[in-house]
């Protein structure tokens, strides 16, 4: 929900190596069912999406800060890739 310039400054500060996207009009946050109409903000969440476009892992709320669930889902996807 941050603007692209705000994200750019942040990306430079912490030297991120992945795309930092701006959902300025909240469309994606709404599509993912994370938008709170009352507060005007979204919930924190982590989704792991497989190569087939299907969701492999969902973490919503404060637990989404902990990346261990996403790591596990990525490990499973990597193992799946090796076995293919």
């Amino acid at each position: 929900m941050d603007s692209s310039p705000a994200n750019k400054r942040f990306a430079e500060d912490i030297k991120v190596t992945f795309p930092l996207l701006s959902d300025w009009n909240r469309t994606t946050t709404k599509d993912y069912g994370l938008y709170n109409d009352v507060s005007g903000y979204g919930r924190r969440a982590t989704f792991v999406v497989g190569k087939d476009g299907k969701i492999e892992h969902v973490e919503v709320g404060n637990t989404a800060i902990d990346p261990s669930g996403a790591y596990q889902a990525c490990d499973l996807l990597m193992k799946k890739k090796k076995s293919e």
Binding site: N7, A11, G33, N36, R44, A45, T46, V58, C74
Partner: protein
């Protein structure tokens, strides 16, 4: 005594009003196995990044990190 009762009543009303105004946390209906909704969003350099562009090529981790770093 009357003042105490009135004060208690007022506090109860305030508590009910505060509770009623607590924003309900949205619950995503998306679950494992669902197709992730596609999106096209701008990155920090203004380039559009589309989720479906990764299909068949890469796994993707989407982190919605609201109000965490940049104040918006």
């Amino acid at each position: 005594m009357m003042k105490l009762i009135l004060f208690s009543l007022l506090m109860s009303v305030c508590a009910v009003v505060a509770f009623a105004q607590t924003p309900q946390a949205p619950q995503t209906k998306l679950k494992v196995g669902d197709l992730a909704p596609d999106f096209s969003l701008s990155d920090t350099t203004g380039n559009k990044v589309k989720l479906s562009d990764f299909r068949g090529k890469k796994n993707v981790v989407l982190a919605f990190y609201v109000l965490a770093f940049t104040g918006g």
